[in-house]
Symmetry: C2
Subunit: 311 residues, 2 copies
């Protein structure tokens, strides 16, 4: 089965031709999420037409276009429902008509975390599993859930994909989503600098010499024995541990896939979290397996075939 795929992130769009479990050809276009989606649709159409001309023998040889979007998506209606400072014009656009008019193929759209989950369960590390949670630890914390083979979506398209916004500290920090003490507000790349600055002893920590505090620098200084960096690292791990237990208790998965930039330190994070859930999650049936994502930037693109197949 063949398909076109778009993965639209905040700073780039990747257009691809996908055949079953492989990305055959791909073009990445730099974008600016703050400038909206309408202005780049012609660029996407051109790139997709080129891919279709090169790889598809005809439009009928293509199962459709699967569009992965960084915001809340109502898959059934084929619409973006809500955005967060990226492509804020998207809810007003009729993307289905744009696709059918400019490419002549059918159109499906889904949230990017759900697309990555579909990709990892179809072609990646969760292959063969039907009960999967995906977590991306990055600037924010993204999530998606599949239960008994079906993506969890919910009435307003929010179910499963707000996993980073399950509160793990009821009296904690205000999150950009508006809630209090979300896992994302306590342990993600955007909240990390504030967490560090509010840790006792910060002023005399090596972290205070950093222009911008990233997880890479945090792990670096923690490895070197900086006490504040160690304390913040342990706190972040505990936050992710509680989040992982929350996701297990909420969605009853067999496997949880962790992706995102922070997972460059999977060697530190995954063994800690596996031990944490083995000890603390309530799963009388056995143990949930935690795995590192395998497909990287291809994950959402490789969700194209299962998305188009299920539609």
């Amino acid at each position: 089965m063949n398909a076109l795929a778009v993965d639209l992130g905040g700073s780039h769009a990747t257009c691809a031709w996908v055949e079953d479990q492989a990305v055959i050809g791909a073009v990445t276009i730099p974008t600016e999420g703050s400038k909206g989606l309408a202005s780049i649709l012609p660029l996407l159409a051109e790139a997709l037409r080129t891919l279709l001309g090169k790889h598809g023998t005809s439009p009928s040889g293509c199962a459709g276009l699967a569009f992965s979007f960084c915001g809340l998506v109502d898959h059934g209606r084929g619409k973006v429902v809500s955005t967060n400072a990226k492509y804020d014009d998207a809810p007003s656009l009729d993307l289905r008509s744009w696709c059918e008019d400019s490419l002549g193929v059918s159109f499906q759209i889904e949230n990017d975390a759900r697309m990555a989950l579909l990709g990892e369960s179809y072609a990646g590390v969760a292959r063969g599993f039907e009960d999967v949670v995906m977590v991306t630890l990055g600037t924010g914390i993204g999530a998606a859930a599949m239960i008994q083979g079906g993506l969890l979506r919910g009435k307003h398209a929010q179910a499963g994909c707000l996993g980073g916004h399950l509160p793990v500290l009821f009296n904690g920090r205000r999150c950009t989503c508006g809630a209090i003490g979300c896992a994302e507000a306590e342990a993600s790349a955007w909240s990390l600098p504030e967490v560090c600055r509010n840790t006792r002893g910060f002023a005399s920590s090596a972290l205070a010499t950093e222009n911008s505090i990233s997880f890479k620098r945090l792990f670096h200084h923690a490895d070197a024995g900086d006490a504040v960096a160690v304390a913040v690292r342990e706190r972040c791990l505990a936050v992710w541990g509680a989040l992982t237990v929350s996701l297990i208790h909420a969605y009853d998965p067999e496997v949880i896939v962790f992706g995102g930039g922070v997972m460059k330190r999977a060697s530190t994070i995954l063994p800690f979290l596996q031990e944490y859930v083995n000890r603390y999650a309530w799963t009388p049936w056995g143990k949930v397996q935690l795995r590192a994502a395998q497909l990287g930037n291809d994950a959402a693109l490789l969700g194209a075939i299962p998305l188009l197949r299920s539609a």
Copy 2:
């Protein structure tokens, strides 16, 4: 549509004859959960046969027996999966055969929180809604979720019904379930005495004069201005607020139904929680409605018809 129903709690079993949205006849038998289920099955069968003889014209006039159980249930296999110090022999029993042999009717079993949700959405305060979360605030915190008209169950029958065990304090108390900082470990009837004793100033609080600290006594002393009682009440409300946001973010409901003994103070709890979720939950589509359960002890019994109908 007519059915037999059993609602088995820790200290009693109610057997009933249900016609559509009404409980027509019911018998309550005192039980001891610690003594197991096998020994009371003959009593249940006798009570159910009496109800069937009185109300059912024949076994074919009865859609079956719907059994509500206080533990994890695999509805598909008709088996109890896991118990927690109540009827611990239940996973070893073949309840379907017991039902068919002793009553001659078909058998369905489900977790009690899921049954209460079915009841409230069929005949109670959530009538007409297909996206519902049920929360029972009592000795522990029970939960269940319905998404787009279907009960959320999950691979191992755990999805939705561990809502009281979503951690809301990642560095909090150990819960009886094994996890850390579950909502239940921070604000339920069993954890309340410990929460009070660990609150600064407890020794000089009126709460220290209580033989056993209940939510009734907590609210009483808080109403009277006792500073520790006020602090604990506010803390419990904040915990339930975070839990409610977590359930909204996890399951995307339109309405959340609150039941359980603690809801005797619904007049304090519900307005606080409604205001809390209006401010803090991320629901761009609108506001989730919070409602007090309407059916009380009949809720699980009135889940019988929708359970048997869906089977």
